[in-house]
Symmetry: C2
């Protein structure tokens, strides 16, 4: 069963353009924001981009526990991935992930100090389809 | 400025069919799931429905800190509401909120022991549009 669920989960990730990232704030509340999907290697890791100046980055430095959620609203299919998120300062990775259309977010381009890359590594997942939940472990 | 943001936020809530709820699990990770929007009175409270048997309900009993997120993916508009969530056992409220189409989730109808109502009360919000964030307090 798990193989089918893994495949369905990866298909959902491919299909959607955005994801929802939840992190933990200083008071222990979950904070949730939609973000563009950037790049992932199956379930090994997900790269996301955000603003260095955002409150989210400060929260992540304090607490790396995070959830990335993918959602197909029309078909009511959801994928929740729970794991840890870190800030990537490696200029080579940042340069590799840079896209020209990011200029609307980071005016100075890939060297903009506000251009920040996050790396999310999921530990487990939950896939939802046809009113049923499927849990799976990833490491 | 705040009045315009409050109005825009309420318009977004009216417009969308679903929302994303984040709670905190036993290990302190955020857990995130999409849910149908049920009923709200402006920013005073939001009613949501879920399964009594769900892990989410157990997490909420332990930790009421939660975030409800509304998202218009096409226009990249988002609304994050941060506050507390509780389980409602009042049969009158549960009966009032019941809809016949819920039978796909709760086969026994409004008396199904798995039919559970959650009440979310936001304390503050963040509205995102045109690449800009607007924070506001609600109490």
């Amino acid at each position: 069963m798990n193989e089918g669920i893994i495949e369905k989960s990866l298909n959902l990730i491919k299909k959607v353009d955005s994801l929802v990232l939840s992190t933990i704030d200083y008071e222990g509340y979950p904070n949730t924001k939609a973000m563009l999907k950037l790049e992932n290697k199956n379930f090994d890791y997900f790269y996301l981009s955000t603003n260095t100046s955002s409150t989210k980055v400060k929260h992540i430095i304090r607490n790396p526990k995070a959830t990335v959620y993918f959602y197909d609203e029309k078909n009511f299919i959801g994928l929740e991935l729970i794991g840890k998120i870190v800030i990537i300062n490696d200029e080579i990775i940042k340069s590799k992930l840079w896209k020209e259309e990011f200029k609307i977010f980071y005016k100075e381009g890939k060297d903009d100090p506000d251009y920040c890359i996050l790396k999310f590594i999921p530990e487990k997942g939950n896939y939802y389809e046809n009113l049923k939940n499927y849990d799976f472990k990833l490491r």
